[in-house]
């Protein structure tokens, strides 16, 4: 495994965009963890001597202040916390559930497989953002409910990815060879097939994490998600709407750029990972296209 892992690492590191993405994520992780030490001001309180809507570049407030007079830089730094949490946690939970559902559905097919996948089909009938909004709205505002909503919304997409891969892998002869030795289904599913399914799920999850940041920002815009005064990029951008009309675009612009950078970084890592996985993976991706008529790359 080690040589293969090294090769993939090397390929990944030679991809400048992906490496940059990884550095950005690492950097934002540091910001999130050490926000209280790094941020120059308390993000939720108007600092002494600051006025509202100070433009970026003002001394002491490099990114300016918002409509209440709070330091935007400090709020952006603290915002990394909720963004990272709401991007990564739901995707990880959804991935774990999807692996179980997808592998079982793909390996057994038949009644169980149909039951799982037809249930997923029902969820595909809803635009993901809207379903997330509906679930979060009904559960009530708060970060936890947003995470629950995002988990529910992501499962069908990830399950389908795992399902198509598993379906294809389970027709391969190495699986038959294992069966010919009488090796049990559970072991075949999770020890033989899973390692071959996991890489593409990891790639997909990384990309989805980026998409999830954007979707969660949308939920914040509607007023769901983290509640004020906690710093949250989506909320910051949408709150800036009121002063945007008066020409103060930076209040909206800056947190939006933060969202863009973080989400973009996840996509870059996703792309880098896809290419770093050996050519075998790429040829597998091609086969997969033939099997599933509907591409699972639909992001929402």
């Amino acid at each position: 495994m080690t040589t293969k892992w090294k090769q993939s690492c090397k390929a990944f590191l030679s991809d400048k965009m992906a490496t940059t993405g990884a550095i950005v994520i690492l950097f934002s992780l540091i910001l999130a963890v050490f926000a209280s030490w790094i941020a120059p001001y308390n993000p939720n309180v108007v600092a002494e001597g600051s006025t509202r809507l100070m433009p970026p570049g003002t001394e002491g407030h490099i990114l300016g202040t918002d409509q209440q007079g709070r330091d935007i830089l400090s709020r952006v730094i603290f915002g990394t916390q909720t963004s990272l949490i709401s991007a990564v946690i739901p995707v990880i939970i959804a991935a774990i559930i999807s692996v179980v559902l997808g592998v079982i559905a793909g390996y057994y097919q038949g009644f169980i497989g149909n039951l799982i996948m037809r249930t997923m089909d029902i969820f595909f009938a809803f635009p993901a953002v809207l379903l997330a909004i509906a679930i979060a709205a009904i559960l009530g505002p708060g970060l936890l409910n947003v995470i629950i909503a995002m988990v529910i919304v992501r499962i069908p997409y990830m399950t389908r990815v795992v399902y198509t891969d598993t379906l294809q892998e389970s027709q391969k002869e190495y699986v038959e060879a294992a069966k010919a030795f009488g090796i049990g289904d559970i072991e075949i599913m999770f020890k033989q097939i899973l390692p071959n399914v996991l890489p593409s799920l990891i790639v997909y999850s990384t990309t989805l994490a980026g998409v999830t940041i954007v979707t969660v920002a949308g939920l914040s815009f509607i007023g769901l998600g983290v509640q004020p005064p906690t710093a949250d990029w989506g909320r910051m951008a949408s709150d800036g709407k009121k002063v945007l009309m008066q020409g103060y675009a930076f209040v909206t612009f800056i947190p939006g750029i933060a969202i863009l950078i973080l989400s973009f970084s996840f996509s870059m890592i996703g792309d880098g990972l896809r290419n770093a996985l050996d050519p075998y993976e790429r040829s597998k991706a091609k086969e997969k296209k033939k099997i599933s008529r509907k591409t699972s790359q639909h992001i929402a």
């Binding site: 945007l244 509907k294 639909h298």
Partner: protein
Amino acid sequence: MLRYVLSRILSTIPVLFGVTIVVFLLIQLIPGDPAKSILGADATPEAVEELRNNMGLNEPLIVQYGAWLSQLLQGDLGYSYTLHTPIIEELMPRFVNSLILTVASMLICVTLGVILGLISALKKGSFFDKASMGVALIGASMPVFWIALMLMWLFSIKLNIFPVSGMYNMRNPGGFMDLLHHIVLPAFATATVSLAVIARLTRSTVIDILQKDYVNYFHSFGLSKSKINIVHVMRNSLPPIINISGLQVGYIMGGALFSEVVFNWPGIGQALYVAVTSNDYPTIQAGILLIALTFVVVNLVVDLLNVWLSPRLQDSIKAE
């Protein structure tokens, strides 16, 4: 063939059925007593009980669902908690407005996305390819509401080219041109992400087809490159592109909510936003249901189009 179309239409019934179950169950997710949360904290127990009875909340779940479904089948989407009017009357005109926005956004993202993806694929590795795919990736990483706000700031507030909000001029509502003038910004805001996705997937599809044996084989006959690209590459890229575009309809309908809110577009998304902020659960339920039904129909059309475009699929259907 007609038989297939019919059976394909009928096969959406289980999905539709499932959709109604999901939508119905959504309401059951409300933490605590819905009647209480509607009436507020200081409602008397009698009032709560009365509302519970009115809402049928004391019945078993399955009975509640049956009642709800039979109402639904009669076109009754219930009453809005806040407006106290039949939801269907409120949503139908808005639904049409949303469809207009959706169609406009689809036109933008499909035409531009396909053109961008196609050129990038044919000039794979060129500066154009790298630049447009980079931009596409950035485009796919932006929240729709933020794009909408930025477009609004630039084109309405700073440059004053397009109106800030609405569907028609309030004082002097004009015809089609007025609508066009108002729709540009919301449509572009809604379309950006899908445009990026379609461009990226079109590119990978076309690159894939360009490597097919039959494309190489026609090249070996010395046929002109551009002709092969049009006759064989484009034709075979069509089904996947239609698939991708069909899926984007769902994304566009979701994204439209945000641009409707930002640009004050009187669509179903805006109504949903109002419903969410005022805990008007039946309206949320109805809105989601309506959009899901539309999406199911779109998927059906996409599937049928695909069959129509693929001789092989047609044969496998006949064989069944």
